[in-house]
């Protein structure tokens, strides 16, 4: 059970080419529960949110088998600019 954080980051980077990526392991390093923010141009024009989440699930299909829970925030660079803490 669990996927190392580095492995998850690497997979997300190669599959979704994020302009910004934050992966937070919330299971004390066990790699079982993650909070992930992905900012990628690939989400542009993809609506509703469920489709973006499906893209992420697809990118980490293998990893998801060992991950218990993952909280996702998926944004385009444009959306991220508006929300970004300045």
């Amino acid at each position: 059970m669990g996927v190392p954080k580095e492995e998850l980051e690497k997979k997300l980077r190669s599959e979704l080419d994020p302009a910004h990526l934050e992966v937070d392991d919330q299971s004390d390093g066990c790699g079982a529960k993650y909070q992930v923010l992905i900012v990628s141009q690939k989400f542009d024009g993809v609506k509703p949110t469920i489709k973006r989440h499906r893209m992420v699930h697809g990118a980490i299909e293998e990893e998801m088998k060992s991950i218990h829970a993952i909280q996702l925030k998926t944004m385009t660079p444009e959306e991220w600019e508006k929300l970004k803490p300045s």
């Binding site: 509703p48 949110t49 469920i50 989440h53 499906r54 699930h57 299909e61 998801m64 088998k65 829970a69 993952i70 909280q71 996702l72 925030k73």
Partner: protein
């Protein structure tokens, strides 16, 4: 007898039948079975635990959002009680995690999406489509 008996008094006859099916059919993870659970229902939540006793924070969050909108009487399926449903629902929706929310027989998403829709107001629209008027609308009108 106890469990089924209690359900029969609480819910309509259909629920009783479904419980019987759940008890005596081995294929609770099949597409047909899950179709039967979600089709024609305004709101169905596949969750860990029950609305009164959620066994996972994300399942609890979904229940609380629904309650916030005044939705108290929705169908729920406790996946911890049935491993077949637990796997079956993931295949049915091609969605890897629990909880999962259905409205009007359509898969809406998981906890994050529910929370997003709650925040941006889309949930009120989705509920309306399912024939439910959100309690938040009443509150807004009372203010005016």
């Amino acid at each position: 007898m106890n469990f089924v008996g209690r359900q029969a008094f609480r819910g309509p006859g259909l629920t009783f039948c479904r419980l019987l099916v759940a008890r005596y059919s081995s294929k609770t993870g099949s597409k047909e079975y899950i179709d039967g659970l979600v089709k024609g229902k305004p709101v169905v939540v596949f969750m860990k635990g029950t609305p009164d006793q959620p066994r996972c924070g994300f399942s609890n969050a979904v229940v609380q959002i629904l309650r916030f909108h005044g939705v108290e009487n929705f169908d729920s399926v406790n996946v911890l009680e049935d491993e077949d449903v637990r796997q079956g629902i993931k295949e049915y929706t091609e969605w890897p995690t629990i909880p999962q929310i259905f409205m009007n027989g359509e898969f809406l998403g998981g906890c994050d999406i529910m929370m997003d829709m709650h925040k941006n107001g889309e949930l009120i629209e989705e509920l309306k489509k399912a024939g439910i008027r959100s309690a938040l609308l009443e509150k807004a009108e009372n203010k005016d």
